[in-house]
Symmetry: C2
DNA sequence: CAGGTGTCACATGTGATATGGTACACGTAT
DNA sequence: ATACGTGTACCATATCACATGTGACACCTG
């Protein structure tokens, strides 16, 4: 069974949602390096999406280095590549967007920091307990 | 002159980009409550976009309570409404997205916090120096 | 060989988006 | 009253991203 579900959210492409869910599963270690990733057609069936869309998801994750494709065999979760330098720069857009939105709803910097903390712990904290919800 | 520029970014709707730029200008106090906001046609001319698109921007910002429409007169920057309760919940999606992306590029929680801090200061820090770049 | 895997190439329909144009109700200034 | 600027509302059109649908190919394993 695939370790993530999908709620039809408006505005966000299905492929993006699935890819994001897969990322969460990987970073929270519900999927460990070396684990087999659902095949294109299996993923399509499980997520109720088209095989072509599922293929796009896998292709994107593979391009980002999160999955390793074994031609003719399947796809497995890759070990994380060494992070490149100047990585803080890549977050600028997202950080700015989050900051502005936080300001708009009247949140304080402390509240935002706390929300980040909580979320981070929620992801990184589910390390070796595989069956946990 | 409008206090924000626009760089044609792929994938993101123009109206969204303009609205976001306007939000930044408002929250960083480059536009203060009571200040006149560019008119639909002026904004369209300045941003090199269609009047219809500019109107969509203003309508969205007004719907979010950031602008106050004076019928027949124009649009001014509104005083921020009292923040509603349970506001941390509204950030969950964005926070989660940012956290996952930070993990992907190998950033630590501390680095992420620091990036947030810096960005927040950059926005809230430009309070009363109007002419600054 | 058959069956599974990832990959690619079309075509099709749908929805969002941006543009272009026109019109209206409102308020201000002349 | 007139002219002008304001936000707002339609309609039409073109474009693009997206998901779907279908088919085909190269690869590996049994």
């Amino acid at each position: 069974m695939v370790p993530f579900r999908l709620v039809p959210l408006s505005g966000v492409p299905i492929a993006e949602q699935v890819a994001f869910a897969a990322k969460k599963a990987i970073f929270s270690r519900k999927l460990r390096p070396g684990d087999a990733f659902p095949s294109v057609r299996a993923l399509a069936r499980a997520m109720k999406i088209h095989a072509n869309t599922a293929q796009k998801v896998i292709a994107q994750l593979a391009a980002e280095g999160l999955l390793e494709v074994l031609p003719g065999i399947g796809t497995v979760v890759a070990r994380q590549a060494a992070p490149r330098s100047g990585r803080a720069r890549l977050l600028a857009r997202e950080v700015e967007q989050l900051a502005v939105q936080a300001m708009q709803i009247g949140a304080s910097l402390e509240e935002l920091q706390s929300a980040i903390n909580e979320c981070w712990r929620g992801l990184a904290g589910a390390r070796s307990d595989r069956g946990a919800v």
